[in-house]
Subunit: 420 residues, 2 copies
């Protein structure tokens, strides 16, 4: 068989045929004959849309889903999350990442910008399961010194594992945050990223505490501080940006940096509400991320879009803010520019990333506006089939290897202290 | 066959058998032999929990899901929602309600406190589909006068249809709000409700505009005004309560009234954020509702719980507010006391309302805390089977008649102006 033929699929309301050859969409027309292609019968009951791009996550934290919730930030981190993470082996991260990827495929995501430990294992899991990912070299400094030894080791392993990586995977440099990485190291990382034309991925302006500390130490906001270090630019992803001044928004917009907005995590940890509408109007590039499962607690971009739209309204006091159309665009296109992925649209010549949606679901009726239904009503039940880079990752709800992934993770969770 | 035997189901983490006979749970034990019962094999992979009770909705607004979003409240109502509603026939409401009930069953809800037009049709739909509902006699006054003629007619039809209703259905008196129903009429409705020992269901303190108008006209808050009219009490459901003073919270708590909290709708329409934690600590009875589909846009209590927990944290600035356990309780037990429904727990003697949850889903792993997973991670994919009043409404994802309901609604939506 050669290629995939989507027969009678709904594209922007019209029924048509879509042909995928190699990694790309090769034809879209009313009737396509492609006798050698694998045929997916959509019968006008499945719609095709671009899949979701998760712009900020810590995948293997699926292992800590529901491990500790509803706690004050530092009690949560110090007494629960960090001690549990210290127990995670490379193998745990491999299986936890596979669980995360399973969940992503089920809920229609095919790209993730990840930041976590044991990244070699993450890379292996992504290669095997067929999604796209940006995987970060991770940097946290010891107080008053250089980068953690555990970071160095994991980064070396990643570098080695990544040598023969597929085109679906890119590497980023991911200093954790301005309060965990010192200035000298930030400058070095910035140089390295520029030299490799790699994305720089950092938590920025997430909490008021970070902003105040930065003001006290550097006399400026975290965004202005990063700008001063030359770390803003079209290859920079700023995760959270919960606390932005008008000046910060201007710096982000002018530099072409991308904001990875994480509305659920920001609400769950009481970090604050991102100024979605202000940033959008100022021309900032905005993507949406789920953050890790410990502070969400899922990886569904369908959930995340609803929170993005609604938190934009609450933050601005304006029900016209966070429109479904804008949120959907942020959730499906933000990675394309920043990570040089020629996808984000169902169009001839584009990389064949796609989701087929079941329109025969109660949550998809009234059927006036598909994007509004996706943002405000749908859940993962509507995701029928997920395609990435011209390959089928899930067909009519079936994902190869699902059982084993669940079983392996259940065993790890039991060891970490769970079982309900 | 007599009764339903749930074989090897997980209840609070332990595997056991659960027997349902007639309308109630009759036995829970390690092994039950019941050769005449319909057997549901759970194999330790399905968990049983009480189903959700949707404390405030306008069911047939499923017909307007995605019809108009992201608009200023009065533009939304006057230019879009009201003109569309004016086109709805009794038959439309019947099918729109069936669509709503389908969605409820799929997402694990078995009770709804409804307020809408053509309620005779609503009652018929609920009777046929086997859920529980409280259906309201509806009251809106013409300016300076009595109740709308259309209300009177629909209420009469409801009264007639309700004569032979099942025990699953109760009737409420539902004056729309204090700004659409005059004082004299409110007093009359209150008397009627008391005489019939019926629940009084009213929108209250939903917007700042309502609060300010009430202060200007009556010199007191909406809650104090209702209290002054003798309308608070254990048989009163106050929908929204977005704007409450400390005094209001005291009046609600002292009177035993139930708050129906609608976090998604409050966020989507920018009404404000309910003081969940303050009301809970003051001893208020709190339930959770989805409101209608035009301002949500779904009927999933799983979605609603996540928003309830997260909006409680944002409103209070406290990550310990809106704990999963508290939110789950509000979502599964609030109707029991107020509407005299002897359910809300999986326990011998209780009415057999239950949901069986698929634990073999990525969103349910880590498996440390089932309630946290339900509140923060799960979506309707985890709902395998829904049982109400000892009858199976959905078995392993199958609901009789689903196709016809979807098809009928598609036709109505096309007439109303849809098709994406």
């Amino acid at each position: 068989m050669s290629g995939i033929l989507l027969k009678e699929v709904r594209l922007e309301g019209k029924v048509c045929d879509v042909l995928i050859e190699g990694r790309r969409f090769s034809r879209i027309a009313e009737h396509i004959a492609a006798p050698d292609a694998q045929r997916i019968e959509c019968g006008g009951k499945l719609a095709i849309v671009p899949p979701f791009q998760n712009m900020h996550s810590h995948l293997a934290m699926t292992l800590l889903r529901g491990y500790a919730d509803d706690l004050e930030l530092f009690e949560w981190l110090e007494k629960h999350i960090w001690p549990a993470e210290a127990k995670l082996s490379q193998d745990d991260v491999y299986w936890g990442t596979r669980l995360a990827l399973l969940e992503m495929i089920r809920s229609g995501s095919v790209f993730v910008n990840d930041m976590y430990w044991h990244q070699g294992a993450t890379l292996r899991a992504v290669e095997e399961m067929g999604l796209r990912a940006a995987i970060g070299f991770m940097y946290i400094c010891v107080p008053g010194g250089g980068v953690l030894e555990s970071n160095r080791q994991a980064n070396e392993e990643l570098r080695e594992q990544a040598q023969n990586r597929s085109a679906r995977i890119s590497l980023t440099h991911a200093p954790h945050a301005i309060y965990t990485v010192n200035e000298k190291t930030l400058l070095e990382i910035g140089e390295k990223a520029r030299a490799e034309d790699a994305v720089l991925h950092i938590h920025a302006a997430e909490t008021l505490r970070e902003v105040r500390q930065c003001q006290a130490e550097h006399g400026k906001s975290p965004i202005a501080y990063l700008h001063g270090l030359g770390l803003l630019g079209p290859k920079t992803v700023l995760a959270h940006c919960t606390h932005l001044s008008d000046e910060d928004i201007g710096l982000i917009s002018d530099s072409g940096s991308t904001i990875a907005h994480n509305p659920v995590s920001n609400m769950k940890l009481c970090s604050g509400l991102f100024r979605f509408q202000d940033a959008l109007q100022a021309g900032c590039r905005i993507g949406i991320g789920t953050d890790g499962c410990a502070s969400n607690n899922n990886l569904s971009m369908l959930d995340e879009m609803k929170f993005a739209a609604l938190s934009a309204k609450v933050q601005s006091g304006n029900p016209e803010a966070g429109k479904a159309e804008e949120v959907f665009r942020a959730a499906t296109q933000a990675a394309c520019q920043c990570f040089d992925i020629d996808a984000g649209e169902i169009a001839v010549g584009k990389l064949a990333d796609a989701v087929l949606l079941r329109l025969q679901e109660p949550s998809m009726l009234g059927d006036y506006n598909l994007r509004a239904n996706l943002v405000y009503s749908a859940d993962s039940r509507v995701v029928d089939t997920t395609i990435c880079d011209g390959k089928i990752l899930m067909l009519h709800g079936e994902i190869p290897g699902e059982e084993e992934i669940l079983e392996r993770n259940r065993v790890i969770c039991r060891r970490l202290g769970g079982g309900h």
